[in-house]
């Protein structure tokens, strides 16, 4: 691999807040691990975890404690040593229920003890998701001294100050940030991981993020050589860019699933009868949606039909799930079996300005018209849509999901389990799934856990609380010179191993 040089990466929007614990947005999450390293790391295929700052970990027999061994000589980007106490402090901060939205991923930890380069996590219960959780951005290790030295009265204020000039242990360190315009990360000379030449990673001297909200402009800039990578290529242009000999149009496998959430409750907020509470109707809608056509029209052939509520890249995805293959006859039969033989009208909330939503829904308007369902599209800006959704004030809405953690439990708590957010506010509730899920959360035997998940996925499919659509990849266009860049299924952009060929 070639060393040196700057890679310019075109992003559609800027990061907001570079604190691993207190941030909420993919805009931050997806680049955060370049700045802050975690004890463990997700593998590039998204199926497992690999060592990070910790070179190894062991779980006790009863599953109630875990011991991690830190690599020797770890340093933060400012050259100061990374010690086990930094780890304890960081994890304690991350699991504080008062801070951030992500603390629940570390909720099983009861206490943390450190000695030398060993970190011992004492758990309340066995937790099969813990390795994945430790490989997640919020469990990043931060320099306690620097953080507490930052100005501010409390953690929130210090976090604000620290996040302006964050120092972590990731392969890069922030060197310049002009909000809304660009961000430069330069090489962290103290990074622990070695490249194929035996010297410390990363290969690149720096990475520069340019913020270019308009898709066309981003592509034009890439084609003009002003960028080496452009993210979020509109799927409609994938084929075109694939044909461009100077570019490497890559579709990174993702955990992204696109579905339509349905309100499963018997009555709507305004008290009217809800046709979607009828499972026949829900299944009919699923069968009547011609996924292959949608994949053609909306994703320009880049997608794959959704078979389970989770993506095929998610651990414990059940490859035998049938999904809902297009079957108009069956759909009609199901409608006939429902209370709504003559069809009904239903309103779907879409995100305004989202071309894919529109394409999808316009196509569905046609498809569902065939079974007498008249689809009305209501476009809302994201905040309004979220507010309506959170108030359960919707019939249907478009939704996309990506995992943040290398484990099926996250999507499952949201999609299938009522307690968290009422099964993504569908109101779907299955006692059986809830029970299976609770068991799986303590099941250390992978095979048994897989079986539990298989059952959950089947039950979910049968209840069809959502309309299964398709999975889509991450479309990233790169100059042919760019090598070694990865966007893992969780969405994290990894620049540590990236380099620019001369």
């Amino acid at each position: 691999a070639t060393r040196g040089g700057q890679l310019t990466f075109g992003r559609y929007a800027d990061s907001l807040f570079l604190d691993p614990v207190l941030n909420d947005a993919n805009l931050d999450i997806w680049i955060l691990t370049n700045l802050y390293d975690t004890l463990l790391q997700p593998t590039n295929d998204g199926k497992g975890v690999q060592p990070g700052l910790a070179s190894s970990y062991t779980t006790s027999k009863d599953g109630k404690s875990m011991v991690l061994t830190l690599r020797p000589g770890l340093k933060f980007a400012d050259g100061s040593a990374l010690s086990a106490s930094d780890v304890k402090w960081s994890l304690d901060r991350a699991r504080n229920p008062e801070a951030g939205a992500w603390n629940s991923s570390l909720a099983s930890i009861n206490s943390i003890a450190v000695s030398g380069n060993k970190v011992t996590l004492n758990l309340k219960r066995p937790d099969p998701t813990l390795p994945a959780a430790l490989a997640t951005f919020n469990a990043a290790i931060m320099p306690q001294k620097l953080f507490t030295a930052a100005p501010g009265k409390n953690d929130a204020e210090k976090a604000k100050a620290f996040a302006e000039k964050p120092i972590g242990s990731g392969p890069f360190v922030l060197s310049e940030w002009k909000r809304g315009s660009y961000m430069v990360m330069k090489r962290n000379p103290y990074y622990w991981k070695k490249g194929d030449d035996g010297k410390a990673l990363p290969y690149l001297d720096s990475v520069r993020f340019e913020i270019i909200p308009d898709d066309n402009t981003r592509i034009l800039k890439l084609q003009a050589g002003e960028l080496q990578i452009a993210e979020f290529i509109p799927l409609s242009r994938v084929a075109e860019l694939k044909a461009d000999s100077r570019l490497n149009m890559t579709l990174f496998p993702s955990t992204k699933v696109n579905s339509i959430l349905m309100n499963n409750r018997p009555k709507l907020n305004d008290g009217t009868e809800n046709p979607l509470s009828d499972v026949n109707v829900r299944q009919a809608l699923n069968y009547a949606a011609n996924k292959d056509a949608l994949i053609q029209v909306v994703t320009y052939g880049t997608g794959k039909p959704m078979k389970s509520y989770m993506s095929a890249t998610t651990p414990l995805f059940d490859a035998k799930q049938p999904g809902f293959p297009y079957d108009l006859v069956k759909a009609k039969a199901l409608m006939a079996a429902s209370k709504y033989k003559n069809g009904f009208e239903v309103t779907v909330l879409a995100t305004s300005g989202n071309a894919d939503d529109l394409a999808l829904l316009t196509a569905l308007q046609q498809m569902w018209g065939a079974i007498g369902v008249k689809l009305k599209i209501e476009q809302l800006d994201a905040a309004t849509k979220t507010a309506r959704y959170r108030a359960n004030d919707f019939q249907m809405r478009t939704a996309a999901w990506t995992n943040d953690i290398n484990d099926p439990s996250q999507i499952t708590t949201y999609y299938a389990v009522f307690d968290n957010i009422e099964s993504v506010h569908t109101g779907f509730k299955s006692a059986e799934i809830d029970k299976l899920f609770a068991q799986s959360q303590q099941e250390l035997n992978p095979a048994k856990r897989a079986a539990q998940y298989q059952q959950i996925q089947s039950l979910y499919l049968k209840a069809a609380p959502i309309v299964y659509l398709y999975e889509t990849p991450y479309p990233v266009a790169m100059s042919k010179k760019v090598k070694g860049f990865f966007q893992i299924p969780l969405g994290n952009n990894l620049f540590a191993g990236a380099y620019l060929e001369k």
Binding site: L16, D214, L220
Partner: protein, 312 residues
Amino acid sequence: MHASYVIRRLLQIIPTFLAVMLVVFLLVRLLPGDPASAILGDRATAEIVERTNRELGLDRPLPVQFGVFVRNLLQGDLGDSISLKIPVLRLIGERLPTTLFLTAYAAVLGVLMAVPLAVVAAVRRNTWVDGVIRAVFQVGLSLPVFYVALQLLSLLGARLGWFPIGGYGEGFGEHLYHLFLPALTLGLNLAAILVRTLRNSIIEVLTAEYVDFARAKGLRSRVIMTRHVLRNALIATITLLGLNIGALIGGAVITETVFAIPGVGRLMVDAIFGRDYPVIQGLTLTFALIVSLVFLITDLIHARLDPRAELS
């Protein structure tokens, strides 16, 4: 010069300002959805939403919130951005110069295009030259800005490679170079409006008796055109220019998006969609202030150009 007038106008801005403040404050809170929804996204649980609202002080009654807002404002504090977590004042300080630069650039380009072309169109009115000039600008005026912007980008930027695609650059020279296309996009639009009025005013001024008097004095046509005709014709146009520059500042949203310019237009739209109340409030007040100042300045320029103008 007219110090009392300037003072009075500045004083007049105050009530407008107060009203803008109140309207924005209420309007912002009328927006469906709340900052928590916007920043936390779909996944947040009810508790987290509640906690966030508490942290942001959004659980307090509106009058209290307004009181806090006004009190902070009087101390020169516009609050912190909810999504970016940095002071709004700093955010505006970072972004505003870009937009102002772009606007001024566009205005200069617009005027540079409009004046000579309007002169040509007026002098050769009803000939094919006039027709072509008017037709070109008419087409420019009836196409959406983003379309014009993208066409310019793909032609002058990508195809011919004369200009960089998007971005802002460092330093004055690079700004000029980088912002040429966006400024041209906005400038074309402005020029289209200006050419129309300026052409009409020039035609009108050309029939004025003092132009005949100037010709009767035996002056060169260039002197007549610049000293006598243009100066007078610009008087009618300057107010329009002021109004449009005001609109340009607020209307740069789309241009900024297409050309990836980190200006306040884009920031404002993001803030609206992100329900970033402090940013919306701060920006609107800034807009109001700037637009008021632009109007004041155009009035003063008007008064300079037109000694008859009564500043009252």
